[in-house]
């Protein structure tokens, strides 16, 4: 029996855990990669950059490369690496995320970046430190290089029909 490997997009998943409350969450990205081997390498590359954005309280437990066309297949790697961003030591709760918006070609999709350090953003807005901003720029560069958005194509907009010739107010 031979299995035909599906083509892109593959999905890279990070499983992150709060080491204090032991609550965890996962974040996933679509990868424009040809197979599981390359996807695994790319996920690990992205994971290393993602760790640089996390405070030590949060730990990246495992990464996974998968493809929805081949369920339950794909390599999983146990990393169990704590975040490496020290900052001022404060962190937001694990249910607080920094909402990112990925854009391109007229399409957009949100990405919730969990494990936000306290000195990077608050209710007043985002005010990242230089160290965090540098790590974020590297993460964004890797996103733009390896990741894609998977979107439903827009429907062609139908021309508008105006049946009313004129409206006269008396």
């Amino acid at each position: 029996m031979t299995i035909t490997l599906p083509g892109p997009p593959y999905k890279g998943t990070f499983q992150i855990r709060d080491t204090v409350s032991h609550a965890g969450w996962s974040e996933s990205l679509w990868l424009n990669t040809p197979d599981f081997v390359v996807s695994r390498t790319v996920v690990q590359e992205l994971a290393a950059l993602r760790i640089a954005l996390l405070p030590p309280r949060y730990r990246l437990d495992r990464t996974r490369a998968s493809n929805p066309k081949l369920p339950r297949a794909g390599p999983t790697d146990e990393l169990k690496r704590h975040g490496s961003y020290k900052g001022d030591g404060t962190t937001h709760r694990q249910n607080t995320t920094l909402r990112l918006r990925l854009q391109g070609g007229g399409y957009q999709t949100p990405y919730n970046l969990g494990g936000v350090p306290g000195d990077v953003a608050d209710a007043a807005g985002t005010h990242p430190t230089e160290v965090w901003q540098a790590a974020f720029d590297l993460f964004v560069a890797a996103l733009r290089k390896h990741c894609v958005m998977v979107c439903q194509p827009h429907r062609p907009r139908e021309p508008r029909q105006d049946n009313i010739a004129a409206i006269v107010q008396g």
Binding site: W25, T97, L98, L100, L102, Y107, A121, R144, V148, P153
Partner: protein, 104 residues
Amino acid sequence: MDITLTADTFVPEQIGRSLSVRISGAGAKTLNGTQVVVPVDTTHCYTNKPIAVRSEVRPGGRLNLPREPIMVTIEQVLAEKLATRKRGWGHSYRRARRRNRPRG
């Protein structure tokens, strides 16, 4: 749209009045079914409802064909704002006192 029946159907009392009739056996399938018509004489009536009468058009709801998702290159990543996101603890938020309880 004018409809011509094969037999005398309407009685004089019905002419000029709005009627709900059930049409069957028409060549154009979209014409079959319950229509509100106004009889003009015993065999002719008309309806204001726009009806497609092409024989290859079938009646029914709007069909949405599944569209194959496309891959779009990421050109820009914007950091928008802090947001809260439901995580764990079932399908509902915990009560405010429990939600705001300091943990860890």
